[in-house]
Amino acid sequence: MRITQAPSTARAAYYDRNMTYVSAGSDQQGIAPHAFADTWSYTVPAARKTTVTAVVNIWRRLTAAAPVGKVTAQVISAGGTAMFDYFVTTLNAIDNRHDAIITPNHVLIAGQIIKGNNSDASTGGTCDFEGWFNGNEYDA
């Protein structure tokens, strides 16, 4: 008697499962003080996954505030499941800046969100905010 097994078929690697490059973010210049606001958002579609390959979170003081208040800029996965970069400052000199360029290699599953938001509690003054992510989206 012979027992035979059907030949096993390895699942295709993620980069061979209809992979697409995705990117989302925003580049805001000369922004006056404002309450906390989301500036961009990306949600993984149904039946897909996304590997976050790069995150950028940049802040620069453009003009001084009088007086300065807390400035916050972050890139997070909604719900706090992952915090990619979180920046808080009260620096108030022109060209004070924060530069974060991160390669997290973090996997998001369908329905998960990565987004950027910021706030500035100062009186007067302006800032530049730039936040982005790059990722590889593929069949789950």
Binding site: V22, A24, W40, A46, I109
Partner: protein
């Protein structure tokens, strides 16, 4: 790529920021007095063909160009593209146009 004018939700706090109930978008402008925002949805984040986009009604914005108007069918199709898989504390989105 499509640009739409939508209502914002949230209170402008760190725990509840101003945001819009759309899955993937980029903020172009926001009026926290009127509680409306103009957002852009990149071409890879929506299921509409270029012919469908060309057929959408538009209004001209002085700063952001053509603002598209989505019908209920468009909104259903956009929602269908993202399905119903959401993880807590996220909740299903419901885009509200202005």
């Amino acid at each position: 790529m499509i640009r739409i004018k939508v209502k914002t939700v949230g209170e402008g706090t760190e725990k509840n920021p101003y945001t819009v109930n759309a899955p993937t978008w980029r903020l172009l402008s926001h009026d926290d007095v009127e509680r409306v925002a103009i957002i852009e949805i990149p071409e890879w984040a929506h299921p509409f063909t270029q012919d469908e986009i060309d057929a959408m009604q538009t209004t001209e914005h002085p700063e952001h160009g053509a603002i598209h108007s989505l019908t209920e069918d468009h909104l259903d199709k956009l929602h269908g593209y993202y399905g119903d898989v959401y993880l807590p504390p996220s909740k299903p989105y419901k885009l509200e146009q202005v």
